[in-house]
């Protein structure tokens, strides 16, 4: 199967600053790839390069085998920008008819799309009266016009409540089932967990990780934290025995690798008279994300 989007060793500098540095990615038809990164990590720049708005300094981008921004590439790609503002005095239906006209798709599709994103009732109201969630869903409907081969969604769910967010991802999953390749950006792993097939993490313009969530967790190899609450006066003894980090007078955090967990718990069991409680915290999604997106330990403290 050939990739709809193939990015190879892409570099892009902007005003003397390296915004994208040696980025390579590919997305297959029907696949959903989440691109994670902080504000300013280069996500929007990557999208604008794929759209052909910005030119790479070096490296190549191919959309459906064509140069980004070429007529054939623009026919294959649909885009939802991070900030979308439609003309306030047009109705949702008029906005979709406009984009449908530009893409040369049948007008009959418009009502179907409005229904898919749940906007059929508000279709003939002015966009100015829409809530943020409704405007975002209209943006998504716009991005689904003409069964796109590649969907570029730049932070599509930022500012949406959890229910709308869930519905949003259902529409995206549906589009992927219909054969669209999806590249979407987001701020956090929690959000895209179970919602995308693969994850790529961009930090300061460099791709620091790429794979499924399980692969990322394994690659990160982060320790499990065991949180101990000691009985009064016993904390010092435990600290002496096990080391670890003192949190306060009676609490102690121990880090241990995946394989050493059971062993450590067995050793702790021998000191059960000094323990009040033990809590096991496996590395969370936030920890994994921070592991791949941090550049220096100092930054991680923020």
């Amino acid at each position: 199967m050939t990739a709809i989007l193939a990015i190879n060793a892409l570099c892009l500098s902007f005003g003397g600053q390296q915004v994208l540095d040696d980025v390579s990615l590919s997305v297959q038809p029907g696949e959903r790839l989440a691109l994670l990164g902080h504000n300013g990590a280069g996500k929007s720049t990557l999208f604008k390069t794929v759209l052909g708005f910005l030119r790479p300094s070096s490296g190549t981008v191919a959309v459906a085998g064509r140069a980004p921004g070429s007529n054939a590439a623009r026919e294959a790609v649909n885009y939802l920008p991070e900030v979308v503002s439609f003309q306030r005095n047009l109705s949702g239906r008029e906005v979709l008819s406009y984009f449908s006209g530009l893409r040369g798709t049948p007008k009959a599709e418009v009502s179907d799309l409005l229904a898919r994103v749940g906007l059929l009732d508000a279709a003939d109201r002015a966009v100015g009266t829409y809530s943020k969630g409704m405007r975002q869903r209209l943006g998504l409907a716009q991005a689904l016009i003409g069964a796109p081969r590649l969907l570029l969604l730049d932070e599509p769910t930022s500012g949406l409540d959890p229910v709308s967010r869930h519905e949003f991802y259902e529409v995206i999953a549906d589009a992927a089932v219909r054969g669209s390749a999806v590249l979407l950006s987001s701020h956090g792993l929690e959000e895209v967990q179970d919602k995308t097939d693969r994850i790529a993490i961009l930090a300061r313009g460099r791709l620091t990780a790429e794979g499924t969530l399980a692969e990322l967790a394994q690659e990160a190899g982060l320790p499990t934290t065991i949180r101990i609450s000691a009985k009064p006066g016993a904390a010092d003894d435990l600290h002496g025995e096990f080391g670890g980090r003192r949190v306060n007078g009676c609490r102690l955090d121990l880090d241990c690798a995946q394989g050493a967990k059971v062993d450590l718990l067995a050793r702790l069991g021998r000191h059960h008279d000094k323990l009040r409680d033990v809590e096991i915290a496996p590395p969370g999604l936030t920890d994994i994300y921070r592991h791949f997106s941090r550049m220096s330990p100092a930054e991680d403290q923020i």
Binding site: K48, F53, R74, P81, L90, F99, G101, L102, R103, G104
Partner: protein, 275 residues
């Protein structure tokens, strides 16, 4: 191609209507035309021309100020505003060609200006024709005025869009539009008058000056309308209309050239916008 231009055209025309541009422009043009008609009717009996011709002459002079202003106001933020709002990025991501966006916007706003001119001048023309005696010359002068005013509107819509594409920012586009209006409509004439007075009779007055006048679309429009009326009571630069070294239609050709140039520059510049 035609569907995509048609789509941009339809959307843009709908905007012009919803933003009340057409109604506003019609009202302004209509009121001024009516005022000039009443003024012309008041003094018309003393002159050998009919009221319609007289009003066409004075309206041509006033239109030089009003129509470019209306056209520039309608167009100056059409592209830069969309760049700032982010909606142009969506449009440019579709298969539409950049020049099609420029031409579609130009056509729609030109139609909006022309509709305003047609309704305003058409209505006032009918009122004059109904109330006062009208000659065939008067009717043709009035029709020429309406047609060439549409052309003038198209050029300044083109200039406004071109500035919008060149600057890419609404604030800068507004400043540029005001500057261009002042330059072409006001200062150009003053500078030319100064030059002709300094140069006096000679090669400049007979061979260079007329070309300089039709090089400016606003002056070309006025010159065309006045030169076609034999009995027009004119003065100043407009006095030139009686001693032209070329047929008045050349002024129309100058207008056409302006339109082509603004479309060419505007389209080329729209291609280079990073939305």
């Amino acid at each position: 191609m035609s569907t995509r231009i048609g789509t941009v055209f339809g959307q843009e025309l709908r905007q012009a209507r919803r933003n009340l541009w057409v109604i506003l422009a019609t009202a302004v043009l209509g009121l001024f035309a009516l005022a000039l008609a009443l003024f012309g009717a008041g003094q018309g009996s003393g002159l050998k021309v009919d009221v319609l011709t007289l009003t066409a002459v004075s309206l041509a002079t006033l239109s030089v100020y009003l129509i470019p202003l209306i056209a520039l106001l309608m167009s100056y933020d059409s592209i830069s505003g969309e760049v700032e709002r982010g909606s142009l990025a969506l449009t440019f991501a579709t298969p539409v060609r950049r020049w099609e966006v420029f031409v579609g916007k130009l056509l729609a706003q030109t139609v909006a200006v022309c509709v305003a001119i047609l309704i305003a001048f058409g209505t006032v023309g009918c009122i004059i024709g109904f109330l006062a005696e009208t000659s065939r010359d008067g009717v043709s002068a009035w029709l020429r005025l309406m047609l060439s005013a549409g052309g003038l509107g198209a050029i300044f819509v083109g200039i406004g869009l071109m500035l919008s594409a060149l600057t890419g920012r609404t604030a800068r586009a507004a400043a540029a539009a005001v500057g261009v209006w002042l330059l072409l409509v006001v200062l150009y004439d003053v500078a030319l008058l100064g030059a002709i007075m300094a140069a006096g009779e000679g090669i400049f007055a007979t061979h260079v000056f007329p070309w300089l006048v039709i090089a400016n679309p606003a002056d070309a429009f006025r010159l065309y309308n006045l030169a076609m009326i034999d009995a027009a009571p004119v003065a100043g630069i407009d006095g030139l209309s009686q001693t032209l070294p070329f047929p008045p239609v050349a002024a129309l050709a100058a207008l056409g050239l302006w339109l082509v140039v603004t479309i060419a520059i505007g389209s080329a510049r729209t291609k280079r916008i990073v939305p």
